[in-house]
């Protein structure tokens, strides 16, 4: 009798222990893979906070599938190979259901093989150069045809630019983007001598001769525009030098793809007024969703001066889409979610609807904004409709026949439409 009681008691204790363990396992783990130290910390810390804010909101609203979300934050420290290690840690050790992360293309390329090997799920929120489509990655930032190409169109048609300076930082994103832009410009009839390409190292600070070159290049009788893929804080001395050498936006406008509200915050923008940036989101766009988002962000971060920017919107959309897809699939299992998310819609913060397409890219509106003296952007042009992200550029000979379609029957990230073959090489 006593023995029986003992067994019963211990079994109760055991079962309660088991159930407690089950409770602990009964959260959905969300991995956050953004650099919190090193050179990229400036930009990526904001995105980590955005994901945490979204998780908090989702938990307040009751979590997902009746479970709470649990963030797992790791720091890959702006060290590209470490991104692969940290991805492995998140997937193999922490067993996260989804990862939000990466900023630079090189960090994404580093994490990619691990994601494919362990069948993880990554939402990548930054504009990038395209030429990639993995079944394990969802690209919520802009592809070149959602940022660079419309910006060039704007300069060509509305500003009347005929001569082009493609200036960039020396790494993969500017180089690929400029390759695409050069091919595009040539297709539009721009001659080789009317295009000037210039690369500078990360953190370049002495812009005197480059700006003087741009000035010379621009004084040949044709309207000249600068397309800038200059990244990071090298932009500040660049714009300063433009101002000092007396180049104003109505002489030679500069359209930038990496300069947003965050980069301009705390910087005196009066010499920059009128220079342009192409994004899919600006904080200044007035819509109910946006107002709500900005308010929530300022409250979460506890700083009234903090700004919002495009990669934050991309993170927001990616998170909402993932949450919707999980609910639709009824599970967090990667393959099921990946199938369920195709066609899921989420309202953009700037109005309109974002759709996840079969090529794992979003449909987005493209906005061109002019820098104002308060560090915000004023939208001067936007695409009439949303633009579908194109993984493989139509303007590069090597990729013009390729499409990406992750739905049956194609199920391929790299499908050649002329030979109807899938190479399986997704990047």
């Amino acid at each position: 009798m006593k023995f029986k009681k003992l067994v019963a008691a211990s079994s109760i204790i055991a079962s309660s222990l088991v159930s407690q363990m089950a409770m602990a396992a009964d959260t959905i783990k969300v991995g956050v893979l953004h650099s919190l130290s090193g050179t990229m910390a400036i930009s990526e810390t904001t995105l980590k906070d955005t994901v945490l804010m979204m998780i908090e909101e989702q938990n307040k609203a009751g979590g997902l599938l009746g479970k709470k979300l649990e963030p797992v934050v790791v720091d890959p420290a702006s060290n590209w190979p470490l991104f692969a290690e940290k991805t492995r840690e998140l997937l193999a050790k922490e067993k996260v259901d989804v990862i939000f992360g990466c900023w630079t293309s090189v960090s994404r390329k580093s994490a990619l093989p691990v994601l494919e090997e362990l069948n993880g799920l990554l939402f990548y929120p930054v504009q990038y150069e395209g030429e990639e489509s993995s079944k394990n990655v969802f690209y919520t930032g802009a592809a070149p045809n959602q940022q660079a190409i419309p910006a060039v169109d704007y300069l060509m048609n509305d500003i009347g630019a005929e001569r082009w300076v493609l200036a960039g930082t020396d790494y993969v994103y500017p180089r690929t983007t400029n390759k695409i832009l050069k091919a595009y410009l040539k297709a539009k009839g721009v001659k080789e001598k009317d295009i000037m390409v210039n690369y500078t190292p990360f953190g370049h600070s002495d812009w005197q001769s480059i700006v003087a070159d741009i000035k010379k290049f621009g004084s040949k009788g044709k309207k000249t525009a600068v397309v800038s893929t200059i990244n990071g804080d090298a932009n500040v001395p660049f714009y300063k030098e433009l101002g000092n050498q007396g180049i104003s936006a109505d002489d030679i406008p500069v359209v930038a793809f990496s300069v947003g509200e965050e980069e301009l915050s705390g910087f005196d923008t009066s010499p920059l007024v009128g220079h342009l940036a192409a994004w899919n989101y600006f904080q200044s766009v007035e819509s109910d969703e946006n107002t709500k988002f900005i308010k929530a962000w300022k409250k979460y971060i506890g700083d009234k001066k903090r700004v919002t920017n495009d990669p934050m919107e991309a993170t927001y959309i990616g998170f909402k889409m993932w949450a919707k897809a999980v609910e639709k699939a009824g599970t967090t299992e990667v393959d099921a979610v990946s199938d369920a998310i195709i066609g899921v819609t989420v309202p953009n913060l700037t109005g309109g609807i974002a759709v996840m397409n079969a090529n794992h890219h979003l449909s987005k509106p493209v906005l061109i904004g002019e820098i104002q003296d308060d560090g915000q952007f004023e939208v001067v042009w936007e695409t009439p409709d949303t633009v579908i992200g194109d993984a493989w550029s139509d303007f590069l000979p090597s990729s013009k026949n390729l499409i990406s379609d992750w739905t049956a029957p194609v199920k391929c990230g790299n499908f050649d439409v002329t030979t109807a073959k899938c190479s399986g090489q997704n990047f």
Binding site: T39, I42, Y199, S205, Q208, S209, I210, G221, D250, E378
Partner: protein
């Protein structure tokens, strides 16, 4: 007849009185009322309408629109001119009547948007209005604005102005502008005459219009059928244009050489400032100080703090920051010397590692105190803009001042080392420590002061760098390598060598950059330097004598 007269009077009178009372007219009022609803595409037409009213108010309206001070009140669509006041509210005035309304928050107002091409249009309109401005420099600006793209109407106005113009520079520019227009629209004789004026001008617009004429003539020749040739006059024009372009090109080459030289010297002077402190600590004392860059960073942050403390004295902040940065970095330098380096004397490897550690500590310290984000240091007004020597050659003020300043620092330091007792002690200790000690020089004390002096100068360099680049925790790292290069290239322990090395590295870089791009230019300079050091390990000006070993 009488009735008609009466009617006319009746029509005129109220109009007049209205115009007097509000300094406006109905066309203008209606155009202004359309501003809030207008899209960017329709705005240029509206501006033309406003311009056509020829009301004296045009200038205020367009200037406000250009500067982005033109808003409308969301509630009643009333267009107002606003100025942000000290409390962060917006003072507002009715754009036509100048009646002041109570100040409001920004959310009550909406800006009337413009874009680049509209701003260009407004500037052209304002330029025509400014042609008769009493200040010659404003007139010159106005003519230059028109110069880029003169049309028939603006040319007519320019010709009228030319007759009245008294200022020489303005007269010349007007003549160039008229010639540009003549070459564009005129008859062949007018074109040939215009070319001779344009050949003397360095204005980019002159070059532009000449190259375009050359192109169109070449196209014309290509289109000609077999046997046909250009007319005699056209040929004269062609040779004249070619000659003029050659002439301009020659002048441009000279100026572009001068420009490269200026860029080189200005980069050199930045390198000099960064390296000169190191030339003392590394060159004279023989300490490999990896935290040298962080001393510059501290100087830059000192500038930031000074600007935060005295926000209304931005124009003088640099003068306050220079001594402050010298003190801050100098004191930190003395602390490092007293706390760490003196225990590691004669162990260069350990010194290198220890100072590298200190540099990381200082960086993290700044990250914790000021956040990892870059801080904004404002440029005083007198540091921005450029000194225009001619239309294609101008020197930016900030670089000009920096060149002068860094040379001043250099010679002041020379003076300290050569003419003061402190300098004597420093040199004595550097040459022969034991002997100096025997002569009752406190070598420990001299070490600390020397290190403080070198660090303090690095701090001053930081003040200068804050004007050129980003003020962030990584500021020092990007200059430390360059500084070592300059000191080694110039010859360790030789200040003149540092000067020559900095200037020649700067110029080499800037002359290579247009040819190779900045990435390759850096590499070439570096490879050249490595080869040079192989050949002459002691640099340009090696120290001679026993103390050299």
């Amino acid at each position: 007849m009488l009735r008609i007269c009466c009617l006319l009077l009746c029509m005129l009178l109220p109009c007049n009185s209205f115009a007097e009372s509000t300094a406006s007219n109905p066309e203008l009022t209606s155009a202004i009322s359309k501003l809030p609803k207008n899209s960017l595409r329709e705005l240029p037409k509206l501006i033309e309408t406003i311009e056509a009213t020829e009301s004296p108010k045009i200038k205020t309206i367009l200037t406000s629109l250009l500067n982005g001070d033109l808003y409308y009140i969301r509630a009643n669509k009333q267009v107002v001119r606003v100025v942000k006041n000290t409390e962060g509210l917006y003072d507002q005035w009715h754009i036509l009547t100048d009646e002041q309304y109570p100040a409001v928050t920004k959310s009550k107002l909406k800006k009337i948007r413009t874009n680049n091409s509209i701003r260009g249009q407004i500037k052209s309109v304002l330029a025509l209005l400014d042609l008769s401005h009493k200040d010659p420099s404003v007139r010159l600006e106005a003519v230059k604005r028109i110069l880029d793209n003169p049309d028939k109407e603006s040319t007519a106005r320019l010709k009228k102005r030319l007759a009245k113009e008294s200022d020489e520079a303005v007269t010349q520019t007007i003549q160039v502008a008229i010639s540009v227009a003549a070459l564009k629209f005129g008859s062949l004789e007018e074109q040939i005459a215009a070319v001779s004026v344009l050949a003397e001008s360095l204005e980019p617009a002159a070059n532009n219009v000449l190259s375009r004429t050359k192109e169109s003539l070449t196209e014309k020749t290509a289109e000609l059928a077999e046997g046909e040739t250009l007319s005699a006059q056209e040929k004269t024009l062609q040779t004249a244009v070619n000659k003029a372009l050659d002439k301009i090109e020659q002048k441009r080459d000279i100026y572009s050489f001068a420009e490269n030289l200026f860029f080189g010297i200005s980069l050199g002077s930045v390198l000099l400032l960064a390296a000169i402190g190191l030339a003392i600590t590394f060159g004279v004392m023989g300490v490999i100080n990896m935290a040298h860059g962080e001393m510059m960073m501290l100087g830059a942050y000192t500038t930031y703090v000074i600007q935060q403390m005295f926000p209304e004295l931005i124009n003088y902040s640099l003068f306050m920051a220079i001594p402050a940065a010298f003190l801050v970095s100098g004191l930190v330098g003395i602390l490092i010397e007293r706390g760490v380096i003196r225990y590691l004397k004669g162990r260069p490897l350990e010194t290198l590692l220890a100072t590298f550690g200190i540099s990381l500590i200082l960086q993290q310290l700044v990250r914790t105190i000021f956040s990892p984000l870059n801080r904004q240091v404002q440029a005083p007004d007198w540091m921005s803009g450029s000194l225009e020597i001619n239309p294609i050659f101008s020197l930016t003020y900030n670089r000009l001042y920096i060149i002068i300043f860094s040379l001043a620092v250099f010679f002041a330091l020379m003076l300290i080392l050569k003419k003061t007792p402190l300098g004597l002690h420093v040199r004595a200790v550097a040459q022969n420590r034991e002997m100096a000690r025997a002569l009752s020089i406190k070598s420990d004390w001299v070490d600390a002061i020397t290190f403080g002096l070198g660090s303090g100068i690095a701090g001053i360099a930081g003040v200068v760098l804050s004007q050129l680049t980003n003020v962030g925790p990584n500021l020092g790292q990007s200059y430390i390598i360059d500084s070592f290069l300059v000191v080694v290239f110039g010859g360790v322990g030789n200040l003149w060598g540092t000067l020559v090395a900095a200037m020649s590295l700067g110029s080499m870089n800037k002359f290579l950059e247009p040819l190779t791009g900045s990435v390759l230019a850096n590499i070439i300079v570096l490879v050249g330097l490595v080869l040079f050091i192989q050949k002459r390990p002691k640099g340009l000006f090696p120290q001679k004598g026993r103390s050299a070993d």
